[in-house]
Amino acid sequence: MAPTPTLTLLWRDGSEEAVRASGESTVLEAAESAAIGLPFGCRTGACGTCAGRSVEGTVQYNRPPRALKTRHSEAGYLLCCIARPLTDCQIEVGADVRAEMVSNPWK
């Protein structure tokens, strides 16, 4: 039987939501099934719109997270559209988190 880890979503404004990540669902799908709208774009791991940041827990990808560079992954960033929680997870989400991932390189 597939595990059903608890996924705690953390926004920059301090709000939190806990959802069940049942079966093979991704972070994005788990949020959607609980009627929580997270930012997303391509849903294939290419565009980075859905980027969140892991605080705790382990996720797995079924295809490469092409929108992430090594330095992003090392800093804990993950792609909610293709990341599948393997354990209980706490993940920072929302447009502010994504914006921090790629900042103005000239400023």
Partner: protein, 456 residues
């Protein structure tokens, strides 16, 4: 193949202009604009939309968003869009310039909106991303109608969001007809324009979706992940005949604009990252390119390096007299006299928004970004623009755009005098929408516009 271009009267009042000059003479001032509005990349839990903006000065709802066509899904990042037929050249019997073809640049989903009722357009059909991916393509960008009711869309990447990009062709039933090009004919793709009388198409280069979509990273520039070439295609054979290397002066060549005259072999492209404008033209059966405008960077106290101009959009007036452009970072809208296409002469500019613009607000609304997508009235007397480039890039360079939303602004142009004046009475604020502040990008007119119509 040339088709007979007679003036058509359609059941709907979509005109067919036989020449660019006819478009100037016979068109009436724009009554509505269709403007891309988007929530993708923000925390607003709503789909992207097409805004119908009332541009009739005699209307009670002038300058208001009077209708919105919401897309059926979230996360598209609607960006550029086009028509099923040019008002000008693509008429076949029974075809009218009535349907907007609107791709989601992130999702890959392609939407078709019927504008038969101009103030209340309706979503007609959708091509899902999975259908597009079957052709090993993603990242749809520019839409042009091509002869026989078909539609061509440039695609920036393959199904994985990597290289190579290519072109997707739709038939007149809005179904995918085929992949237009042979895979690998080009690597990078972005914008394109064709000049059928000379059997030529030009295409430009942005980057792979996986490169530009997450945001702008100098590492990618240094690794050669951004484009710097122009491709000149044999239109009939669908093959690249000539590739021109622009080098360091020509990084990220974006909008490709042939002059409107079907006889012309001249055009312009903006190398955004190098802040240069190039002129291209055919001479002795070969295309030449030459830098004709070089925008200087400017020092800014908050920046580690000088702020580049970043010319992100250009357009050619319908009379082929002026080239207009927008410098998004520095904050300038400009017009150059191109009556001698090789020797540009600056006519006028407006310093507004961005990092250096003199004008910082319109009607008390603070401008939190620079001028971006442009559209010019067919008579050349009214220039409109919006302020969002791309959600992730906005967040890097103008982060307040997400919190405040975009604006649509207007300048009055005097083409006889070569002058532009900001219309201080005009403001459409996309920050005031019920779901939350939205970004705004490309603008189109129902009766033809300066950035889509091609003459056979």
């Amino acid at each position: 193949m040339a088709t007979d271009h007679q003036h058509h009267d359609h059941e709907m009042d979509g005109p067919g202009y036989t020449t660019p000059q006819a478009a100037i003479e016979e068109s009436t001032p724009e009554q509505v604009a269709y403007v891309i509005g988007l929530y993708t990349g923000s925390d607003v839990d709503a789909p992207d939309f097409i805004a119908v903006v009332d541009l009739d000065p005699d209307s009670d709802t002038y300058q208001e968003i009077v209708h919105r066509v919401e897309m059926p899904n979230r996360g598209d990042e609607l960006h550029h869009f086009g028509w099923n037929a040019c008002s000008s050249s693509c008429h076949v019997e029974g075809l009218a310039r009535q349907h907007l073809v609107i791709p989601g640049n992130r999702s890959g989903r392609i939407h078709v909106v019927d504008t038969a009722d101009r103030r209340n357009p309706e979503l007609l059909t959708v091509i899902e991303p999975e259908e597009v991916h079957e052709y090993d393509l993603s990242g749809p960008h520019t839409v042009h109608c091509i002869p026989d009711g078909k539609i061509l869309i440039s695609m920036t990447g393959n199904a994985d969001g990597d290289l190579p990009g290519g072109f997707l062709e739709l038939n007149d039933e809005f179904e995918i007809e085929r992949r237009w090009d042979a895979p690998g004919e080009i690597e990078f793709n972005y914008d394109f324009w064709y000049q059928p009388r000379h059997d030529v198409m030009i295409s430009s280069e942005w980057a792979a979706p996986r490169t530009y979509q997450p945001g702008f990273d100098m590492e990618d520039v240094e690794a050669g992940e951004y484009g710097h070439r122009l491709h000149f295609w044999n239109w009939t054979d669908r093959t690249v005949e000539q590739t021109v290397e622009l080098g360091e002066e020509g990084l990220v060549p974006l909008e490709t604009r042939f002059l409107h005259s079907p006889e012309s072999v001249h055009g312009y492209v903006n190398a955004a990252l190098s802040s240069n404008i190039f002129h291209f033209w055919e001479e002795d059966d070969e295309y030449q390119v030459e830098k004709v405008i070089d925008f200087e960077s400017g020092e800014h106290a908050d920046w580690d390096m000088p702020v580049p101009a970043l010319p992100v959009d250009i357009l050619v007036s319908m009379d082929d007299r002026y080239l207009f452009g927008s410098n998004w970072l520095q904050g300038e809208v400009w017009m150059y006299d191109i009556s001698d296409p090789k020797t540009l002469r600056k006519a006028d500019s407006i310093s507004i928004g961005g990092y250096f613009g003199d004008i910082r607000e319109v009607q008390g609304r603070e401008l939190v970004a620079g001028p971006q997508m442009l559209q010019l009235s067919l008579d050349g007397e009214r220039l409109y623009w919006t302020t969002s480039l791309y959600s992730t890039w906005d967040d890097q360079f103008f982060p307040e755009e997400r919190e405040r939303g975009s604006v649509m602004l207007k300048a009055d142009v005097n083409p006889r005098k070569g002058t532009m004046t900001l219309d201080e009475e005009f403001l459409v604020d996309f920050g005031e929408l019920p779901a939350g502040p939205a970004r705004a990008h490309e603008i189109r007119w129902p009766d033809g516009d300066c950035t889509s119509d091609v003459w056979l």
